[in-house]
Symmetry: C2
Subunit: 254 residues, 2 copies
DNA sequence: TTTTTGCCGATTGTCGACAATTGACATGAT
DNA sequence: ATCATGTCAATTGTCGACAATCGGCAAAAA
């Protein structure tokens, strides 16, 4: 009776050191990801890119026809997405793409402030040169993408920056919570459309954060980060309110 | 085509106002909860009470025999638990009850400090007399349970207090994150056994928090809360290290 | 006309079975 | 003795089908 899992929650991609150290890899790992993962990924993609509108109904039969699978993997993928808050399930009516109210966005950003400030406060004591260099490169990437690059890419790289910050805290659970929030934010942002008029400004607003982090100035770091997120929050909420106060269409009758 | 969910994420129990306002309810609602929910609940219960030891292997067949159902509900329940971090799944080996390392506990409590302090900082501006009264009652309950009451009940009521605090923030997502953390903490605490020598002390340590909250003194509130959680963290981590540095048994051979 | 009742289609909840893959063991070669 | 290979049981991944349940519509009664 073998009763121990192979690896707990190590990164699935981290299949390094196969042979002797320093050998050039001949092949890349090939993973047979199960249908559940693929389906969940595709649905997530459709939601965050806005191809699937909030409130859209998803029936298992329809999805299974579309994916060419049986309903079982669909169900599991849907449950996965439900636990991430991307869809909600009405007991016997099916799944619906999550609708975001203005209140939800407020909650998300409010929580995000607390989370990232805490992460930064921890990270400033633990961060090493490698992490700082990574953050610098990330800002660089954002600048180059500001000239050429889609809106979605810019948002994505912005999220990556903040993710790296959370990662620098060394707290896995904190990072997981950030990831959960990030999906929800993406879900809400894409349906707003253009967010920043000037992409360069988006890239630039990260520099004070990095500066304070480099100098080890906790107060300035927290202030800069709080300001940065609050600005984003105001922009999002305002734009969101402008587009109609809710992603859910009002009921036509009654 | 009807394309709107009946209710988004309102409480399922909240089936009030059936008839005219003020009528006495004749019957209580009867809910036919599906197998997945029941199974997930039972497994969770078994894990947090320690009946299922960390690292224990769970095969679908065994569980389906035990529950008397097919494997489908088992699978979905297991996935649900996995998303909550109570079990981990090795791709084709099955599910294993999550093992907690000392590092995990450190992460959990570290995150908890950030989360609850943020919650308190928000709540202090929004909290009303009703919430404060609720917190007071909760402390009372803890005192009475200190004399008579099981260890698990005391822990449970302690968690309830902190949960109410998070709830007072009015931020649904923050509350959700706390709930996630709470299950993980329960998962780790029960296997340690007795935590506080004096249950009265456990109840008493909450009073400074409530006092500061009542007076609207933010600094004192945060300090009291930080101290309270840090004490708990130290106690847990220390006891945890004492019992063997990890919930996972070391490999016997090798 | 309004309300109640019965029915029906649509959709999920659950099941049993098959196929694919894994890890472990035994066998054979070096 | 050690390593590689082939085989096998165990377990998951996936499928198609059946039954239970729900929401809505139409018909009948008031």
């Amino acid at each position: 009776m073998d009763d121990r899992p192979g690896d707990q929650d190590r990164d699935r991609q981290g299949a390094d050191r196969i042979g002797a150290p320093g050998d050039a890899r001949l092949f890349s790992v090939v993973t047979a990801t199960d249908l559940v993962t693929q389906i969940a990924r595709q649905i997530t993609e459709a939601i965050v890119t806005g191809r699937l509108k909030p409130g859209a109904r998803l029936t298992e039969l329809q999805l299974s026809r579309e994916f060419g699978t049986s309903r079982a993997p669909i169900r599991e993928a849907a449950r996965l997405l439900e636990s991430q808050g991307l869809v909600v399930s009405s007991p016997r009516r099916g799944f619906f793409v999550r609708t975001l109210e203005a209140e939800d966005l407020r909650d998300i950003y409010e929580l995000r402030i607390g989370l990232e400030l805490h992460a930064a406060s921890i990270a400033i004591d633990r961060i090493g040169p490698a992490d700082i260099a990574g953050l610098e490169r990330q800002i660089e990437k954002m600048y180059t993408l500001a000239d050429q690059g889609s809106f979605e890419q810019q948002i994505f790289e912005d999220f990556t920056f903040h993710r790296m910050l959370c990662q620098a805290s060394g707290n896995r659970r904190l990072l997981r919570v950030y990831d959960e929030l990030a999906t929800e934010m993406r879900c809400g942002i894409t349906l707003i459309g253009k967010l920043y008029d000037d992409p360069h400004r988006l890239a630039g607003t990260h520099e004070p954060i990095l500066e304070a982090l480099k100098e080890g100035d906790r107060d300035r770091l927290l202030a800069a980060l709080r300001y940065h997120i609050a600005v984003a929050q105001d922009a999002v909420v305002e734009l969101f309110a402008g587009t109609g106060a809710s992603t859910r269409e009002r009921g036509s009758g009654s």
